[in-house]
Symmetry: D2
Subunit: 347 residues, 4 copies
């Protein structure tokens, strides 16, 4: 019997991407799509690439009705809006997967400090799981409140986990230099996403002040077993999809690149979605566009003793909606790659 | 039992796209990939987006061996190179689908004039079928030598077929103004595909002289039952995938846009891959990127009595490899949308 | 003594482009910049590419003050907002150059019909000059109320003027298929200019309904001496700057391409900003980016008897601010290319 | 009397950019352009954006003839080809400005190791000046053999000079993460510059192995007065022009961002081409496109004690041809900004 799924906030980019991915899911039936901006319009009118693939009408969110008819609810809303939904889910005993930040922090004060919002569902935090399957799959199984990771954190944590897990680097030396496509900023209008301002242009933003910093640090600290502080710099690429993170760390041993590659291969040997690239091959965002993969390339700068780890993901898929479906598959005890396997579009 | 498939010329863009599409095909087993430039390399080394999805090594073409082990052979070579392959296929009694121009013209002299090549397999032309399924599906069924249409012709013929079929336009008034992404020029290096020359730029090329002109005219003439001559202007868009054709023709009746839309809806009512868009919605190349769809938008310029029909396709899919798989499905008596259904990537 | 110049609406793209161009103008002193959105900010804060080049603060428009201190006032406002400014200019006896549509139509009813705005300064229309210098320079000299042409009309009229002037084409056969960069839509936010919606995408818009249609027709009719009706289709290119128009018309004689090129060379022989390209060379938008040039390429489709004329301009320069400065030079009796000569940026 | 200037290798991107810039130079007369690929063609045929601006024909290089008629010769050739030209210049007692790497290294062994070429003019190295005017203008004055800096080094050295000059950072902690547009790879064809491979894509390349590394280190060591070793990672942006470098270094004092900005302002206070941006404003490549400026933005990551310095230049101008003209102005005792001042094109 099909799993009945609803999406709250279906008309943003992560919402419409969920619709795209779930179309291929043999076990899922989409039962409700909600919106604030396009109430009463069919989803395929809002996103004509869905013509012939989706016939639902976007509705105003009626939580009671939604939890009544749904087994799993995806929340694709801006931060601050998932808390009431999760509270309602708890009442109904239903599973929710939140693509925003509301349940990513085990310490609500960190959330409140960086997001400038009061946390209205602190009591649920102990039950929420930060759900990066390649790192903590076991915790995810059985959870009902899934905090889907941010896009930059996914790319940074997967880059550093093997090194930190093995204690191979000077933990004070980590620099994460990330570059993201514009879709990460969503469909909301702003000068920073205006075509003529972004096209044929490149810039950094929120340097040393981006909200994904504490999220990365929380997870790296958990892996390392000590408090990790990093420098994180996001940049805006004139492309639609893709994040490439170039991660620098001083090696505390004299491990060579082949040893590191072996370590990464071992660490991710059972992970279908992580592809550790061979010697001489570095990740490109386009190789993962439209896929749930995280490609990893490795170099050692022998002259300075630094490891340089480069990861590429599609920010809308592995950085958001694809990972959310991966998490749904886990909590619903389905094969983890259902609806997610397959090569991307190249060129 | 799986259909055994080989691709001759697998390392160009249409070849690698066939590999991508056929990965999802439940009835196909890829048995051989040939190349001239990458002999001995694995396909996934040539195209790393295929990591985890393909483990074949690219080989020099050995036709005897290939036809020995294959049921269907795709030819993804430049024009002029498919003729010897087709002759060999005839000897082996195997099916071939040629993505190039060698078998598109019923009159070999037209081919020789426009392509400046002698036709070396004229005897096969009567058996070759120009295979645009939405137009001549019945002919395709049962054929063994499939001439897969060109990208521009696909976009132009689907735009004009309903009008010509009904005799609604002045046949001397047709102008096809087409704009294509750069992938249509293939992976071969040229200044015209050099990033710095194409990016943030736009131009026409081969005006009134493009080789797709006689191909469009041959098929339009067949549909209209009279000799059609058109003006065709291709342009180069600074995008990778997509063709948008804006087609102009004087209406010979006073049909309004709603009547035309009704005509198109009726004409394509059983065609899954053609999407006639509703009033007020015009095609966008990105809505079909990565898909086998052809989107059609319609307007009537009442002030001048012209119909304006706009079509959008992905030149690598519906304009090449996707349509080739669609044709394979037809000649192999499989559901026509196998491996081809599903929404594209947006944004 | 310097000409004192103000710009009303300086913080849009055409306004900031005027500042860029006028920086190189040896006879101009910028005295006032007005804005609605950035009152009190320095121009170089709004547009940091102007750092080191402009030190003015953007102010709310105070017309009395502006006309008091200015010799020439550029109006870079949305249509409908130039009329009160022009009325004030008349009172002060100052020159104004309006980059919008308010004074482009000799018949105010055409304006009101297409722009859905009441004309509030009809009495000034007889004094306004539609100012495309290559077509009607003599009228511009001595005028005080300059209606600067629209971007698409500039590209279309320069393409067709020689043919219509000589009566060489069937006037009912004209199709103008234009493609524009996104900057033409200005700096105002809209989904249609949102990066992720435009990038790697292409589409037509306002087909057979764009407001530039009657403007093109008015000027073509004036040149032809008869009422001209055209089909005009604008498209949106994923580039920032540039318009390429592909113009089709049935030749009424059997003129060959060399005769046409000779005609165009003769017609534009004294025009520095028009470059009639040699045989085999077709315009590219990037060749004119940042310049006031209009490049023209010509072909004849002998099979169908059509002339195909292709023009390329920078929509922000020759299509707006550059042409406005060209007009200022004319009415101020300065060399017409002052601040405007020089090759563009390539690649 | 005009300075007579020739360009050896005029038909590459840096050569054509010299032609563009020198068109505006009131003291320069271009007397000869050489080429290997386009012998006998006019420069404006090779680069049609130069129509109306240049009438020279590209010739095969005849050094004797060129030095006979030239006062200054620009060398815009791949590395390894400038050495014989410089030797000839020495014989004629003429000035040369080499845009390549042949004379950038004071230690020829470093050059030979990284560039895999034997140095054939070692005897000239003591007379060659590494010519980054903002750093060593005094040395440049009076020199005849100018080694014009590389594009990445220009962006990295200007970022770090003030910090190193004042001894404010831990010199072992420097990471330079640079991102460049594709024009930096020149006009030569390669898969890495093929539109469909670069567009909507992003990647690192030559990680910890790029030839600009020792060049950056040589100059930083000179400034610091000690041997500096850095980690340098170049990336390829899907834009044509622009380099943005994000530079990380641990502060050895507890200087705040305002102190750093003050330091940079003081350090560059007489430098017209360096623009230290105000608080809260970070560089964007498009703000400097087409200009000789280097924009600098500063942040301090207080949590980790790192300074983050971001620079943006146009790789073809300040990173190559513009800086070459700046150096020519210096050695010819002309105002340094001649032909180089003026805002860039935005948007």
């Amino acid at each position: 019997m099909a799993i009945k799924v609803s999406i709250i906030g279906a008309t943003g980019y992560t919402g419409s991407e969920l619709v795209r991915i779930l179309y291929r899911h043999p076990e899922v039936e989409l039962v409700s799509l909600t919106t604030r901006s396009y109430i009463g319009m069919q989803m395929r009118e809002v996103y004509p690439h869905l013509f012939k693939y989706n016939y639902l009408t976007c509705e105003e969110a009626d939580l009671a009705k939604i939890f009544d008819i749904s087994d799993v609810v995806f929340i694709a809303l801006p931060h601050g809006h998932a808390m009431p939904v999760a509270l309602e889910a708890a009442r109904y005993g239903k599973k929710v997967i939140d693509l925003g930040a509301d349940f990513r922090f085990s310490d609500y004060q960190v959330y409140e400090k960086w997001y400038k919002v009061n946390h209205q569902a602190k009591e649920l935090l102990p039950e929420a799981v930060y759900a990066l399957p390649e790192i903590n799959r076991e915790e995810i199984k059985g959870a009902w409140l899934i905090a889907n990771p941010g896009c930059y954190p996914t790319s940074a944590i997967l880059a550093l986990a093997p090194l930190l897990g093995e204690g191979l680097i000077d933990t004070g030396s980590i620099v994460v230099d990330s570059k993201s496509g514009v879709s990460g900023a969503g469909r909301g209008l702003s000068l920073g996403s205006h075509f003529s301002e972004v096209n044929e242009n490149f810039r950094a933003y929120n340097v040393a002040a981006h909200r994904h910093t504490p999220e990365i640090e929380q997870e790296l600290s958990r892996i390392a077993g000590e408090q990790i502080t990093i420098t994180f710099t996001p940049h805006l690429l004139p492309i639609t999809r893709g994040i490439l993170s170039t991660v620098y760390a001083k090696l505390s041993s004299d491990a060579g690149v082949e040893q590191l590659r072996e370590l990464y291969r071992e660490y991710y040997k059972n992970e279908f979605f992580v592809r550790v690239l061979p010697d001489g091959t570095l990740p490109q965002t386009k190789w993962v566009a439209g896929t749930n993969h995280c490609d990893i390339g490795l170099t050692v700068d022998k002259r300075t003793g630094r490891a340089i780890v480069i990861t590429a993901i599609d920010n809308v898929v592995k950085g958001a909606s694809g990972q959310a479906v991966q998490n749904m598959n886990i909590i619903c005890e389905l094969p983890e790659d259902t609806a997610l396997a397959g090569p991307g579009l190249y060129p």
